[in-house]
Point group: C3
Chain length 352, copies 3
């Protein structure tokens, strides 16, 4: 069974929790919890929340010691659990979880053995895990954490308050902004896929650019973001990238894009801001995608896309058109039968 | 040319091998082999096997010193190679390969430098490779092997007899059962992809759950299995996962599922038991898939799926329907010509 | 802004550069550059090139100190920048970039702590990064570089002049040729996905083969190439593989294939030479693909393919046919309306 992180090393009362989120208590304010659970699997000693009608049955039946509940769902004067009444239980729960995360002690200090070149400039209050490697002329900003077995190439700059997880590899000359998170085993700045065909084989085109990741970017696990051939591959401020995603050389992503797992973007394509790209989507190289575009999962984009288009299919067309046409695709056997019936009928008429 | 693993440091006679698999020898029982090869590239000193009619020509021509052959394929009293006759050569060969693997000396002991926090509990007879990292409060079961450069977060529990290959990263609080194998550079328990849109950008939703991997699970290389937001992402007993696969937060997989390379399952989706998911398949979030379902490669599943359905296409429909309709898709140009011919004909008739 | 690699620690004059590429100078031969930039973002102190008509406007406007320009584009006697005139500015620029890369000092020597088993044979002039791991009986060729946190299993052979980037994992008995580059966190030789179903679950089929990578191969980041079950998975000479690619057990790739990101090839399939496989393509197991085949991105190949076929779609058909049929798919709603109109019309005629 799932147990909420290290909360079992802490203990909170309903009244303490209520204080964090400006709630009102129904029931025993001294009820204590040592963990948090999904509402479906609540137990004594645990906290959960109810924000939606469809979960309100749990108001009566949950074994949780404390529940945070949206005001509109309250119909009784008291319940089995201690209730903390708030305007929006979902938001209040988020606030609580964020608080909790900030309470977690953050790792700092330099573990040994680690490798840090003497020419590199390490900020205040950083964490450098064992077996991590910092090459020459790097700059690591204050409060950043470099986990064990991460590799930082030469002349890399990492901003403040970043988390570079275990096994992340950052090639030479890449630049990471402030407040970025890169998850385990992602690779930033490996060579773009550029080769010149000759009759004897493919000759490598040197990949001499870098990757620039702006502030507030989060990148999932096992992603690959290639360096520019010349110039930079750019991931704009606030963009969030899921796992196993490929960003090719010289791609430029604007701000606040969201890209789901296993999508891939080919070389030199640009995206504006606030786009949402579904899982396993493929986008060809050398095209321009506007702003606030939505692309359904598994679609393939092979042309420029205007602002706010919603696309689906491979190759992708307007999502509405795709869905309508796909209904007919599912009936093609029937459609062809209808066509054959007409032909037969016409033939009979002619024969007559 | 390929040489069979470290067999070249061992030597077996036909009679020894026959003893392992209850075979009957035709030819010289003292013929020795030092390696194993595919039947197509057999050489003196090597062992191979013939289990199917279509390979029986090699019975005459193979240069292998020893061949394991299914009884039904034997037509002569002797052959160029020494023959070990068994009921089912394929199964006997598997038995032999399994025996061989067990003969391989298993690594044990703690290599230095490695990092193991003093609060962690290491079982008997384990292997801890150089540059591996075990955080605080971990428990590693007896006979488990942690290869070089693996990273184990805090409060992680790993069962008995597991193999955690080089570069695997397991985040805090994840739980791995007994007899599990995780291949190189897979990431277990990185943050789920959860963000709340605000007008200024996306705000991270803390990912506070974990991953639970039950007994007898094998996970390929470079996979990513995200931790639950609350609660657990669960990989059920006996499930086998190929390479480069994405399992999102709060997915629950039942027992004995088989998932081929580069497939992805989005958040909170559940699968029952004994499902077979093809390569590059995508499954959307928040749906339920039953048992014994088969999904063809590259399909996209966007709805609940009942037991034993066989699906194909993106979005996926019944595989039979998809194949029938796709035949018509391939003829669409022809179909549209037929339609136009009718229209023209009708128009002519009307004009007349 | 992007800055050209460590060029800012070097300085070149127009006349020096012109000497490397047999150019002719218009303007000041002593103009100096300390970096290289894309033509669109040129600045004082930087070098760029103009090889195509569509960029010739920059001849007048660029702030670059030095420009390499194709002869055919020169119309004036002098320009704002110093010009180096050559036959083909693109080729000359490539020559320069290759020269530049060779000028870069190559890492050599053995950093500590690293682990290298005493039975392994390390060539001359190699680099072994900190926290790298070389198992027993390996052979590393002269001038090869093994970056930090790479793992080399036992009995692995790596040729001359290879670059094994940080975090690469190579399992036991694999063989790498000369002049190969493997990018960060790729996994070579993990177990193929082979299991035998039994009523109690799947039983692992031992994966006892290896991977052979021939000379001049480049493999991107986070790829997975599985070992053969028996025999070898083979990547032929000169083949180039992008990022996040899956090559299953016993696949055999010929020479000079190019495979784009996130493609996957299932077990025992063979490819000839000079094929071009698009991104996110899936190829099923146990088929044969000829030579000079082109497969469009996201296609799925499920049958043998003859030389020089061009394929598209999932499942893939001739690319021309796919495109033509897809146009009709996009019009299916219209097509069905036409069909219904005919039916209605025929019915009316009959009713009459």
């Amino acid at each position: 069974m799932w147990i909420f992180l290290s909360l079992h090393y802490m203990e909170f009362t309903a009244s303490q929790i209520s204080g964090f989120i400006d709630g009102e208590i129904l029931g025993n304010p001294d009820a204590t919890i040592t963990g948090v659970s999904p509402i479906e699997s609540g137990q004594k000693g645990f906290l959960s929340f109810i924000a939606q009608d469809r979960f309100s049955e749990y108001l009566q039946s949950s074994d949780c010691s404390v529940l945070i509940v949206s005001k509109k769902l309250i119909t009784e004067e008291s319940y089995k659990s201690t209730i903390i009444v708030v305007e929006d239980a979902y938001l209040s729960f988020q606030v609580l979880m964020n608080l909790y995360e900030k309470l977690q002690s953050k790792k700092t200090g330099i573990e040994q053995p680690s490798f840090s070149h003497e020419t590199s400039d390490l900020g205040e209050n950083i964490y450098l895990g064992a077996f991590s490697y910092i090459s020459e002329n790097c700059k690591i900003g204050d409060d950043s954490q470099i986990y064990p077995q991460a590799y930082i190439g030469k002349n890399v700059k990492i901003g403040k308050n970043c988390i570079i997880n275990s096994g992340v590899k950052i090639y030479d000359y890449c630049i990471i902004g402030d407040n970025c998170i890169i998850h385990a085993n992602s690779v930033i700045g490996s060579d773009g896929f550029g080769f010149q065909p000759t009759k004897d084989g493919y000759q490598k085109i040197p990949q001499l650019g870098n990757v620039i990741i702006e502030d507030d970017v989060e990148i999932g696990s096992n992603c690959t973001i290639d360096r520019g051939t010349l110039g930079s591959t750019i991931i704009g401020k606030g963009t969030k990238i899921d796992n196993l995603i490929q960003i090719a050389h010289n791609v430029k992503l604007g701000q606040n894009n969201v890209i789901a797992a296993q999508a891939g973007i080919a070389g030199s394509t640009t995206l504006g801001d606030w786009n949402m790209i579904g899982g396993q989507v493929g986008i060809v190289g050398h095209i321009n995608i506007g702003n606030k575009v939505m692309v359904q999962a598994q679609s393939g984009i092979i042309r420029d896309v205007a602002d706010k288009e919603i696309l689906y299919g491979s190759p992708a067309i307007s999502a509405g058109d795709f869905r309508r046409n796909y209904v007919h695709f599912r009936n093609l056997t029937q459609i062809v039968k209808r066509l054959s019936a007409i032909e037969k009928n016409n033939k009979n008429n002619t024969d007559v």
